[in-house]
């Protein structure tokens, strides 16, 4: 039996990182679009903001993919934990999935005018 237990919450965050990023981006663009349009912001500004948020989200997911191992350590997942490779794979694929969703969400801002 190993001495160091992995953190439950940390492991969950690690596995879900890509999707969490999508969730944050999605909430942000939805709220920003709804609020700013409701109170009369210029549509081009809203579109720009949506795209900016999307850009940041894409970068964050990319960063996660690049620095996956250090992130895992940061989140309390020991390197020698059983089935570590499985967790890494899941986290990576999840990030790819999240990335697709983030890009699609941003894509709509290219194609549709805001506040209409």
């Amino acid at each position: 039996m190993r001495t160091r237990q992995s953190s439950t919450l940390g492991t969950l965050c690690y596995l879900l990182a890509g999707l969490l990023m999508w969730g944050i981006q999605f909430t942000f663009v939805y709220v920003v679009h709804t609020l700013m349009c409701r109170f009369g912001a210029p549509p081009s500004l809203v579109s720009g903001l949506v795209l900016a948020i999307t850009g940041v989200a894409v970068l964050v997911v990319l960063a996660f993919l690049v620095w996956q191992k250090p992130t895992a350590r940061l989140l309390g997942l020991p390197a020698d934990v059983e089935d570590r490779a499985t967790y890494d794979f899941i986290a990576r694929l999840m990030a790819v999935l999240g990335m697709a969703a983030v890009i699609w969400t941003g894509l709509t801002a290219f194609l549709l005018s805001a506040c209409a």
């Binding site: 699609w104 194609l111 005018s113 209409a116």
Partner: protein, 330 residues
Amino acid sequence: MKRVLERCSGAALLLVLSACTGEQSALVSRGREASEIGSLFWIATAVSAAVTILVIIAIMFALWGPPTWKDLLSRERAVLLGGIVLPVLVLTYLLVQGSTLLQAGVARTQRSGEPSITIVGKRWWWEVIYHLPNGETVASANELRLPVGRPISVRLETADVIHSFWAPQLGGKLDMIPGRSNVITLEATEPGTSRGQCAEYCGGAHALMAFYVVALPPKDYRAWLSREAADARTPQTEQERLGERLFMTSGCGACHTVRGTEARGVIAPDLTHVGSRRSLAAATLPNDEEAFARWIAENQHIKPENLMPEFDVFTPQQLEALSAYLSSLK
């Protein structure tokens, strides 16, 4: 492109093609939006059919295919290719198509300006109000007339619960929501009549809340609108006059308006030109004298829960006179 696609998929799916008939069919377009959505629909159908066939073939190979194929299929790489790469490509294509079309609709609405028709959903009929250039309004019911080739902006509101306005041959549906007013742009591309119906469950007689759309050449439309704006025709025959008297003394005017008479009710359909409409009771009955008589005396059987009480208080002769009068309101 659209034609070709239509023909191809039509040939492939005879059964589907049979959906292209019917006065309320979404696949028969008499409007710009409907025809655009129609082409997107065929694209999506073709893509879906292709994917379905692909999956079926894959399952068949997985079950009975040659070992080499089975071996290829059974790798995790196949799962990632088939389950991620393929869907991402297909879905990106569809998302772009869908968004582009949605944007076209948005642009159309932004161009078409102030609403010139207001439709108010009520339990369970449609009040249709035409706004004339001089600022006056003309109320009608359960029938929408449009000039061909002009994008018309229509404001949608409700007097009670949520309804949804849907004229499938013209375009998609849009809800009527208390406290809000939604605007839809309709553009008829060819003259003719089609049917529409309430698409959001609105309780009781939801099933019996339909209407007709009549698209007219612009000249005919203008002529019709000026006729519609005029007061009601005065009764000509003795029977019609008796009918009018019955109408006025029996309380019909409490709810209905017949412009040019003392009937000025505001809670039920305007009957000024009821005789010229295609149907009665929100496309529930044909428009003839017999239908009027049935409606007056037994409307709760024809359209249960509708808000008009049954006036089963007339003798047959009186009913005939009333119906004759109402039918004469062309």
